[in-house]
Symmetry: C2
Subunit: 198 residues, 2 copies
């Protein structure tokens, strides 16, 4: 197992990349993480490449679109968020409460990543796959939470998880750069609006 030459023993897995390729991929991921944190997720490609000490073409080789790079950088956190939703749902409290907590967690994640919220809503085709990734992973979680709350009679019917996620994501736009705007407060209002209207 320690020997690198025995690759691809499992089914159709890729035939293992060259060592320099793996090194560069890691360097790019690290550089992108740092640059995204300071300059936002729309920072110039050249900046990321130079920080990683590689040429621009190397970025495109490893991450065909910017969406792939962003997804790779934040994958762990998205997964953690999705799993938190499942945990929250399983924990015995009120489903509406679980929904509220989960939404807050999502906001905490998105609103602290400079520019991520905008990009998630952008209709630029370059970001379509990022959009799809977030949605595929999180909408089902949100949907479960929503259904549970609806079944418990805590919220009004007719709310779609996709729409709610987009709404929450939208409310997070610009949250980092404007001290007068608190996305959490607005999202709280939105979630409060879900409550059953008696």
């Amino acid at each position: 197992m320690a020997d690198a030459s025995r690759a691809a023993k499992a089914g159709g897995s890729a035939p293992r990349k060259r060592a320099d390729a793996r090194r560069n991929e890691r360097a790019l991921l690290d550089a992108a993480t740092a640059v995204f944190a300071t300059s936002g997720v729309e920072a110039p490609v050249r900046e990321i490449a130079s920080r990683a000490g590689v040429g621009v073409a190397t970025i495109y080789r490893h991450f065909p679109t910017r969406a792939d790079l962003i997804a790779a950088v934040y994958r762990h956190q998205v997964e953690a968020c999705a799993e938190a939703g499942e945990t929250l749902l399983a924990g015995g409290g009120s489903p509406y409460d679980a929904l509220g907590r989960w939404v807050n967690r999502f906001v905490d994640f998105v609103a602290t990543k400079h520019g991520l919220a905008s990009v998630l809503q952008s209709d630029d085709p370059a970001f379509q796959s990022l959009h799809a990734y977030f949605l595929d992973r999180l909408v089902p979680v949100c949907s479960d939470l929503l259904r549970a709350a609806a079944d418990a009679g805590e919220i009004r019917a007719g709310i779609d998880a996709y729409e709610l996620m987009r709404g929450v994501g939208n409310l997070c736009i610009g949250a980092e750069s404007d001290p007068r705007y608190d996305a959490r407060r607005l999202v709280e209002l939105l979630v409060a609006g879900l409550r059953r209207t008696a």
Copy 2:
């Protein structure tokens, strides 16, 4: 008054532009209106210039920043929206109801202008003055409506007009291009969340 040579009779008003300058300004406004409607408010400058039959420098001469052009194109509608708020407030109904109607009107305006909502929230300094214009004109109106509803005890306290406007604007982003996303519904939820809690 019909004679053009007697200009600037009132105080510091501009000394009247040349005829070709006025003609071009009008042509640019018309072209921008058309292009914004089809390609969105972020359409390339060259597209607007060529549609107006002028060079690009002429755009910059008349509208130093894109924000100025956008503001000029939508000024009438913004004014109308602001005035509608005052009317709604004066009309004797429930203040909360008036607020809801006014917000809906604002959404109808913003959500039908391709890309306007995004640009309104953008932190690109080029749009800062547009941002300021919308806010200066509409936040006071919203503030009055909000205060009236608060005074009537219909909504919870502590809601800031600026924050609400930004939230509503944010919710309008992407509303034109996604049939699964209905900004009006989300905004309705947000406004419902304003209701006094018990």
